[in-house]
Subunit: 707 residues, 2 copies
């Protein structure tokens, strides 16, 4: 072992020794409803067009200046006369200095909260779904597979009227990959609606059984499996004035992806990142919304692994042409200034760490605010970047994970953050550097009364030299002369980090329950493939399933074995989803390392996973037969030493039950005894109250067999 | 406890003490293929129209006289020239002194085995299913949902040609209840074919998921659940000469059952037992096969519990009008002589035990042969009954379970039997009493080399005074000063007996594995509701689910607790199907009695079981809401003490997976931890090699948790 194990000093005892309250597993799992998460300020945000902020407190909306002076306060009584059915203060779609916009029954209403007077409304169909509102008083929504728009004069204009159930309009496409979270996109002024449409005729059905009916019935979902036929995407443009729809002239018979749809501020064009089905080539194209024809390809991005545009164009204030584009093309997510002719005007940042998102602009200083890691990817800061100067400053210097909201003019930031040692703080920050943040909330440690142990961060090294962030949770009354069993909690897939410098270090409270109530060490390591570390760190997994990820997890195990207080013969592993794939693979491909594994909602064979996510990392089964064959969990069943529990939601639409069922079938065929439980009528995750049952099952199993 | 525990002397050590071969669980489960079941004579039967018998030995058919004189012997070489594709001696449909009838490719051929010459054949469609052949050289078969007849001149006459997939012709109806095993019934001379047709339009689909396809697909089966709409039955009559079909004029819109279809010998009438959907009233009706009209109702049977005709009319030799009818109307299955006018000519038997079936007639003495229990229902004998004299004699006096084949003229019986102490004997018996049987096989104990323990029969008493037969299996090297844990193996439903006086006392060999390899006592008791004990014993279960059955099982537990060598704190329970219902109900409704239960393919809620079987015993959910509610296993989940394992085949079409899934869902809802495993792509029973995995899982679970 040549790895250098660097244990950082950062370490937290979330419980104070003097206190001895015993945490229950129910409290740990239902920590939010049990009041065990740090206090927050409800519905806190900037009031549009001002530098005042609003929040909910004691059933009143309060608006304050950044100096803390209250400028408005109103409760339910303000609304009662106009909206007699309101039972509590409404959540708002937007708030300005005079106007609050919210839903009341089947209306979106604009209400002058100073005058207590309704100043506009849009009615819509009662069964409306996927509602997307623009303050120009237009609402897009869907009913079943069709798309509608409601205006002040018409509550139901059919944008599409398609009987064929295989064609779905106005909803997210591509299974929410490529940063897609919705299917409708209002133009900046609300005169046009761009929308996605997908044709799923060629996509196979996956049958999920509903056992709550009498008798059971099938719910077929469209599920495109890797290597099989996929959906065909389209983009429509609906003109509110004429009620006419055109479709962009894009030939998608090759099943390529239409992503990152953005409007130009002048509403003349939409920009679309088009990615081939192989996901190794992106064309950033501009389309004319009147003719539907392509105007130009601004630029292309290619990779021998994958390209994955996930962020829309961010147009500079007051420009119809110049925008910032986020790209990993140099290995890290950096900002590039382009214009719509496709000219690269400037590479704005040269970070060797990762920008996560663009939060806003400061017009005066021509600056952009981004959320980004620093050199330590466990932190997330808000960084102000001068576009002309290509200079930047971290305006949230305190270590931790910062979530920011920038006021409209960019002069203020609401900074909501925590770290391993800070439960939560919310500051009002002047974005001009050198001013002192004004703290408006410092949350107390909600666990202070409980007997809990320490959390420590440890940095290990992958064989190819990357830092691997890991986290050790110890029991209360930790005694270094004892030998403790270990649970390794793993995820290991892309787009996620488990070890972060926020409250509890990213850990779940059940880990502290296990640590203290069962005297365990809980260990977690973010292996290569995980998020916020740059493309090289992430893309090493291409075509090889979990192999580099497992290699790194074994570095973690090697580290554990160096610890005098670890019983290295009693190491368990648990994970869910990709972590279920990892947990089961680690058990079967590295027999003897772990005594017991619990794999929830596991991918067991990438050919049963979906086209969009799966093919990005694995290519198709036809292109990469070896990669699929070698990553198939069942291939290694005969190796099992110890105990393996598989758990699956019976109607999991993400990792479909076929993964676990075929693994079980192969285990029976190979005469290997594994254990299984299914959560009837639960989808990919077991949430709510039933999660206590789930964690009880998993942790009982681990404690029982980790010997 | 006032029960009298009567331990009978009958007891067997299947293994000899001198031998010490250890039985493996694989050998126990796959006992047939492992050569651990008693030797038999293959394909032994009477040669039609003679008193010679045929059997297969060393790849030769041998025909012998009852005295043992060989009259013919022929092997594959006899067939080779005419049937070059035959690879081994064919199984035959019938055999006479000169002619053997068998299938060769897509033909039924009549072959003169003396002359080695084909003397007739009928061709049929290659995909034919449900083949039913009459020696008049007519074959009925089905393709998908339609019925066809093949003759010497035409291989495919469509009897039905119905496109609607909901209408099924020529297959068994009513889910094989009421003694129904097929859907076609040739008239005695083969001139007509009567057939069942069912219209399942109103029957709901139950979805079973096939995980072997890519992606998974649904296989919908028609499954009428208790209280829901059921199938509509019809009977068609096809006339071979005219190729015309008529349907009997029966109005079945009330979903009543058409069962026990019999032809009169003159081919003029069919007799049909018609049972109302409530199953408490039977009309025995005669229909004219030319007009399809009802001629008369011969008689009716009613019950305040249920009527369940399961045996066809057995016409007396040389009579077109007089037949024997089996009825439980006096509390036991007895024989009644009726004529087709409906006159009851005689009650032939007055048994207070149970006739199981009619085997044949002896013309000269006007006698009928039946299979029946004696006063001890663990035995089955062949009884010759003089119809005019109403006298009877057991022609198989040796205790045990006798299976008989009567020669055509009734003068001889092939008697194949075993008992707890006799592995198997086959005798040729002269049916005239007083003659000595001629033994043609005495099988050796196939387990003689193994270290196995004793099997003992014990008779207990139900609270209402019925004898309850039970069986105790002990380990080899049983030491009465030790305390042994117990597994209670239970079925408990109707139509079955587990404790019988045949080889191993009806036990499965895995019980001996558990007894000796894990030092267990295995206990089984046939509670009220089980078969061959008469209507009062069986029908006490009406409308109350498993309650009397459980009461009796607890009598068994009370007995076990009196045994000094039983560790009464370590009693486990296991059963499958109805036995799964019993095992899970016993665990949950009698907490503290059993430490661990394993319930396979369990009924957990009778409303998810089928109309035909379920409503007979439980009425409908609408008629008997309390019975359904109180027998629902999930109702008692909170009571669980100890461990409960549920197992289900993932495509179980008999007890559909909804039973286990809803139980699991309720367990999660109630925060009760139970265990579960599913056998992917297995139906109601896990058979074949995978059964070793199943029994390993169950017995490992029991041994682990029965503490």
């Amino acid at each position: 072992m040549k790895n250098i194990f660097l244990v950082v000093a950062l370490s937290l005892f979330v419980g104070a020794f003097a206190q001895q309250k015993e945490l229950t597993l129910e409290e740990a799992v239902l920590s939010r409803s049990k009041g065990l998460i740090p206090e927050n300020i409800d519905r806190l945000q900037w009031v549009s067009g001002t530098n005042n902020y609003i929040y909910l407190e004691d059933n009143y909306y309060v608006i304050k200046t950044v100096e803390g002076k209250q400028v408005a306060k109103f409760g339910l009584e303000k609304f009662e006369e106009t909206y007699p059915s309101l039972k509590k203060l409404p959540r708002f779609k937007s708030i300005s200095a005079t106007e609050i916009v919210f839903e009341y029954k089947n209306q979106v209403v604009h209400f002058d909260y100073k005058a207590a007077k309704e100043i506009g409304k849009v009615l819509f169909d009662e069964k409306a779904a996927n509602k997307d509102y623009h303050n120009n008083k237009v609402l897009a929504y869907t009913l079943n597979n069709n798309l509608y728009v409601a205006t002040t004069s018409n509550s139901k204009i059919a944008v599409t009227n398609i009987q064929d159930k295989n064609i779905v309009s106005g909803q997210a496409i591509h299974r929410y990959e490529f940063g897609i979270s919705k299917g409708t996109f209002w133009s900046p002024k609300g005169n046009y609606l761009a929308f996605y449409q997908k044709d799923e005729t060629n996509v196979t059905d996956y049958p999920l059984v509903d056992v709550t009916t009498y008798p059971a019935t099938v719910n077929n979902i469209k599920y495109p499996m890797a290597g099989q036929k996929s959906e065909i995407a389209k983009i429509g443009i609906f003109d509110v004035k004429t009620s006419k729809t055109i479709y962009l002239n894009i030939d998608t018979k090759d099943e390529h992806y239409l992503t990152n749809l953005s409007w130009t501020p002048d509403e003349k064009f939409v920009l679309v990142a088009e990615v081939n089905r192989e996901q190794n080539h992106m064309w950033y194209n501009r389309y004319d919304v009147i003719t539907g024809e392509k105007v130009n390809t601004l630029f292309e991005e290619k990779s021998d692994k994958w390209v994955e545009p996930e962020n829309d164009a961010a147009f500079l204030p007051n420009s119809n042409t110049d925008f910032l584009w986020m790209s990993e093309r140099d290995g890290f997510m950096n900002l590039y200034l382009y214009n719509t002719s496709g000219e690269l005007k400037k590479k704005v940042t040269q970070f060797d760490y990762v920008i996560k998102s663009i939060l806003g602009f400061h017009v005066g200083s021509q600056s952009v605010f981004v959320s980004a890691t620093d050199k330590d990817a466990r932190n997330t800061h808000i960084v102000k970047i001068s576009i002309p100067m290509a200079m930047f400053i971290n305006i949230t210097p305190e270590s931790g994970v910062h979530n920011g909201q920038i006021s409209d003019d960019g002069t203020y930031l609401i900074d909501n953050y925590s770290s391993l040692t800070v439960p939560r703080k919310i500051d009002i920050v002047t974005t001009k550097p050198g001013t002192k943040p004004k703290n408006i909330l410092t949350a107390k440690n909600p666990l202070v009364a409980y007997k809990l142990g320490a959390t420590e961060f440890v940095t290990l090294k992958s064989k190819d030299g990357f830092d691997l962030y890991s986290r050790v949770i110890k029991p209360a009354n930790f005694d270094p002369s004892k030998k403790y069993p270990v649970l390794v909690y793993v995820y290991g897939g892309t787009h996620a980090q488990l070890v972060t410098n926020n409250w509890l270090g990213g850990a779940r409270l059940w880990m502290h329950w296990l640590a203290t109530q069962k005297e365990y060490i809980i260990f977690t390591l973010d292996n290569r493939g995980s998020a916020a570390r740059g493309f090289a760190f992430e893309s090493v997994i291409h075509r090889v399933g979990g192999e580099p990820a497992m290699e790194d997890q074994l570095v973690g195990v090697d580290y554990l074995k160096t610890l005098s207080y670890v019983d290295s013969k009693r190491i368990a592993v648990h994970g869910w989803s990709y972590g279920g794939f990892m947990a089961s693979s680690l058990m079967l491909r590295h027999p003897g390392v772990y005594t017991v594994g619990a794999a929830g909602g596991p991918v067991t064979d990438w050919k049963y996973y979906e086209v969009m996510y799966g093919e990005r990392y694995m290519d198709t089964p036809q292109e990469n037969p070896e990669g699929y064959a070698n990553s198939r969990v069942g291939k290694y069943l005969e190796n099992l030493e110890g105990k393996l529990l598989i758990i699956h939601g019976s109607i999991d639409p993400t990792v479909v039950p076929q993964h676990s069922m075929t693994l079980l079938q192969e285990a029976v065929e190979k005469e290997v005894q594994i254990d299984f439980f299914t959560y009837p009528m639960h989808p990919h995750n077991v949430r709510g109250k039933d999660r206590v049952h789930l964690m009880t099952k998993i942790l009982d199993y681990i404690v029982k067999y980790n010997k």
